[in-house]
């Protein structure tokens, strides 16, 4: 427990971060910027897990381990996404989401 800080302080920050990520997901067309927004969203979720673990259930480490697994899955997701983006760039020479409208050439 941290002196002077409640669970609400952390939840407000992570909520705002989550919705900033969603806004970026909507307003950007570039695939890499969309990936950056997804990373923001995942990070805010990790903060939430840890805060609930620390403030409400400090007798176990469930939130801690789920955060660990989220970070691992985010790494896998980022590597596959980057591979896909490079492949798309090789085929159509840009990475705008609007131009990726065919599954197969």
């Amino acid at each position: 427990m941290i002196q002077g800080l409640s669970i609400y302080h952390f939840l407000v920050v992570s909520t705002l971060m989550f919705f900033i990520g969603i806004t970026g997901f909507i307003i950007r067309q570039n695939l890499i910027t969309i990936l950056l927004s997804v990373e923001l969203i995942l990070n805010s979720v990790v903060i939430n897990f840890l805060v609930f673990n620390r403030f409400l259930y400090p007798d176990q480490l469930q939130g801690h381990f789920f955060s660990l697994f989220i970070i691992g899955i985010a790494a896998a997701e980022a590597s596959v996404a980057v591979a896909l983006i490079i492949n798309i760039y090789r085929r159509i020479r840009n990475i705008n989401a609007d131009n990726v409208n065919e599954m197969k050439f």
Binding site: Y8, L40, D59, A75
Partner: protein, 170 residues
């Protein structure tokens, strides 16, 4: 104001400022660097919450690994001085509406919710010993199954990334 409270406000200001700049910047490399700042500040949160191991994981895996991967892909796929065009007004308004309505609703629900901790629960110190035992434990509070699943997932992702990004030989 004690030091942890001051650090909390400093870190949250950094996180919010650089999150907004990540999505608002029109140069892609700058967006990635702002995201790096967000990730480092987030690991500050983990230190504040006394999860030192996870803060280290965040710094090495996210700030060290994923951001480098993203910067590589930016350098491979676009010109460094390339600026995006502004998003269309309709999209901008849609995004801002989602931001305002969504965060207002979520914050309304969160701030009205009385979170109460069961006072009988004792705080367990997060030591490396405990983390290691639980991560590879089979019994109660053991996480060996997701640990093994994630190792399979990681190797599948690695092979998939190589196969997808490989140049076709023709």
């Amino acid at each position: 104001m004690t030091l942890p409270v001051f650090m909390f406000y400093l870190i949250s200001a950094t996180i919010l400022l650089f999150s907004v700049m990540t999505i608002a910047s029109r140069k892609m490399l700058r967006s990635a660097i702002y995201l790096l700042f967000v990730l480092i500040a987030t690991s500050g949160f983990y230190f504040l919450l006394n999860y030192q191991f996870l803060a280290g994981v965040q710094l090495t895996l996210y700030a060290g690994g994923i951001v480098v991967l993203i910067i590589f892909s930016i350098l491979l796929t676009s010109h460094i001085s390339h600026k995006f065009k502004r998003p269309s007004t309709w999209k901008l308004w849609m995004g801002l509406t989602v931001l305002v309505i969504g965060s207002a609703t979520a914050l309304w629900v969160i701030l009205l919710q009385p979170f109460s901790k069961d006072p009988a629960l004792k705080t367990v110190p997060v030591t490396m010993h405990l983390i290691g035992n639980q991560l590879l434990g089979l019994g109660k509070n053991g996480y060996v199954l997701p640990f093994e699943l994630i190792s399979i997932l990681l190797i599948a992702a690695m092979i998939a990334a190589i196969v997808v990004a490989k140049k076709e030989s023709n």
